[in-house]
């Protein structure tokens, strides 16, 4: 199992992580080693075995549909790197 630099760049883009070329090479090696190790799962017979995404039997835990107080606008914006008029300020969505 060997991850190519192109595959590493693809995954980095899925996760929106900027990597330098040195990092791409380094991670390709490290991730390949880890994925090689994970290959051992392929030998396990899992026919008819349901997946366990979650260990508890709880499902659809809901609360009563009653409004209640939440964070104030000021509290919600308190850690914002940029804000204006009570909104989070973001960069332009469309890139140059």
């Amino acid at each position: 199992m060997h991850l190519t630099p192109a595959e590493v760049r693809h995954v980095a883009e899925l996760a929106k992580l900027h990597l330098t070329e040195d990092e791409v090479a380094q991670y390709a090696g490290q991730l390949s080693a880890i994925l090689d190790y994970a290959e051992s799962l392929q030998t396990v017979d899992t026919s008819n075995v349901p997946p366990t995404p979650y260990v508890l039997a709880l499902t659809n835990v809901l609360r009563a549909d009653e409004p209640r107080p939440s964070l104030s606008n000021a509290e919600a914006l308190a850690n914002a790197p940029a804000s204006v008029d009570g909104f989070f300020r973001v960069r332009a969505v469309f890139e140059e």
């Binding site: 991850l3 995954v11 992580l17 880890i34 260990v55 709880l58 940029a82 960069r91």
Partner: protein
């Protein structure tokens, strides 16, 4: 007035506070003095909230004077920096949250506050709880109080070291793959991880949502039970929180293990374990037998698959949980001109290498074309691992084994090889995958005076049998009374 207040356990401190031997302010000051004297070397704390702690201590003294006797009234504790604390910086050991001040407090911390605790500060952690040595903290590496050239374990290394060095009477940690139990073993303290869902995760910054659980680091088992009593219980703010009633954990500390069936998995005694660790653990098991327990050999056939399952499932969940760090609503922002480029730069600069590694591993395992072979397959093997435990618990009451294959390793020794670091979790990880509970208690020392831990594993909601067994063992030994010389 005793000048050794920092060496007290939580229960001994409560005795002293109730008897009026000392006040919470005196107790808190003693710990702050100790932190000032020693934490420069141990580096357990990221943030020490000294003024706030003394105010809380003064309030606790007033409350006590007025007849209040809340379960942790006036007791100084430390909190791992992945737990949100309103008004107090919470970094998760990462640069991407430097300066982040949560607008709310985690339920676990809230419960301790309602019970009257004094918060001394926030302890160091591997970044976003990803690691086994606290070397992945973006700030600095915590040192093991038993040998300052060695790691305290991780990711709750700060909390474990703080308790081991008497820099807090107890601490909260979190455990996703062993991050409470392993540092407890390496630092010679008691580390307890309850069953998944027993303690609320609200306010615990998410890493692996199906695995994360708050845990405790304490000087003895009685203190674990005291903290668990306050922490456990249903929380409407956490939809994965169990509705089951909370028993009286302290009442379970009878010291009796007569007829208790203790399972020893053959898969947990493997090549590559440090011989002194194996000897100490086997001796501890023999000790349990001499106390009346019945030793039962068992098998957990899929035990060797736990690590590869974890290193697909946990990163997959992490890749989703860490998508929120985008420089928009909180934390570091790189200042690039366009939105997606700002995401890339913010995350590329703000996250450390281990976090990036795990995010990419997770994104890969979940991506189109690979999901079935990696993520889905891992979830299926997870079912088999869970079934192994359920099967074992029809034959035994508790399972015993090692916590870590070795004692504390040198700082830098494993940090070049991620896979080698992952292998240190080999005995702890299965519990998180299966949702079971477990404890690490001190069971010896190696030839270099480095602590060794005994792991006791219980079924889901088996906190009582684990605490009872751990307490019985502890009370017949003196390991927990040996202190690091720092």
């Amino acid at each position: 007035m005793p000048n050794h207040l920092h060496t007290l356990t939580i229960h001994a401190a409560l005795d002293g506070l109730r008897a009026g031997t000392f006040t919470s302010v005196e107790l808190t000051q003693a710990l702050l003095d100790r932190i000032a004297a020693v934490d420069g070397d141990v580096k357990a704390y990221l943030t020490v909230t000294a003024e706030r702690a003394l105010e809380q201590a003064a309030q606790a003294d007033v409350r006590r004077h007025n007849g209040d006797d809340a379960p942790l009234l006036g007791v100084p504790l430390a909190i791992k920096d992945v737990l949100s604390t309103a008004g107090v910086e919470t970094t998760c050991g990462s640069r991407i949250l430097k300066g982040y001040i949560p607008p709310f407090t985690a339920t676990a911390v809230q419960r301790l506050e309602t019970a009257g605790m004094v918060m001394l500060g926030k302890t160091n952690t591997d970044e976003f709880a990803m690691g086994s040595s606290t070397e992945n903290s973006a700030y600095f590496t915590t040192r093991n109080p038993w040998d300052l050239t060695r790691v305290p374990g991780g990711s709750s290394g700060g909390s474990a070291a703080a308790v081991a060095a008497d820099l807090a009477l107890g601490a909260l940690g979190t455990d996703t793959g062993g991050s409470v139990r392993q540092p407890a073993a390496l630092c010679g303290v008691v580390g307890f991880k309850p069953s998944y869902g027993r303690i609320s995760r609200y306010g615990l910054v998410a890493f692996g949502s199906s695995l994360d659980q708050v845990g405790t680091l304490t000087k003895d088992v009685r203190d674990s039970a005291l903290l668990l009593q306050v922490l456990a219980g249903h929380d409407p703010c956490d939809s994965t929180s169990l509705p089951d009633p909370v028993p009286d954990y302290s009442a379970t500390l009878t010291g009796d293990v007569q007829g208790l069936r203790v399972g020893i998995p053959k898969e947990y005694f493997i090549d590559g374990m440090q011989p002194e660790v194996e000897t100490a653990v086997r001796t501890a098991i023999a000790q349990l037998e001499s106390l009346g327990a019945e030793i039962v050999p068992i098998s957990l056939p899929n035990a060797d698959k736990a690590l590869p399952v974890y290193y697909l499932v946990a990163p997959a969940e992490a890749s989703a949980n860490l998508a929120r760090y985008d420089g928009v609503r909180f934390g570091y922002s790189a200042g690039a001109d366009a939105m997606f480029e700002n995401f890339r730069q913010t995350r590329g600069q703000g996250f450390g290498p281990e976090v990036k590694r795990r995010i990419m591993l997770g994104a890969y395992a979940l991506s189109a074309g690979y999901y079935d072979a990696y993520y889905l397959k891992a979830q299926q093997v997870r079912t088999l691992i869970k079934q192994d435990f359920e099967q074992a618990f029809t034959q035994v009451d508790v399972i015993a084994g090692p916590v870590s294959p070795t004692t504390a390793f040198k700082i830098g020794e494993k940090s070049d090889n991620p896979l080698e670091m992952y292998l240190t979790d080999i005995f702890t990880i299965s519990l998180n995958l299966a949702g079971m509970c477990g404890i690490s208690v001190p069971c010896g020392f190696d030839g270099q005076n480095l602590p060794i831990g005994l792991q006791l594993i219980g079924p889901h909601l088996g906190e009582e049998v684990v605490l009872r067994t751990a307490y019985a063992y502890e009370q017949h030994t003196a390991w927990h009374q040996r202190k690091a010389g720092i």
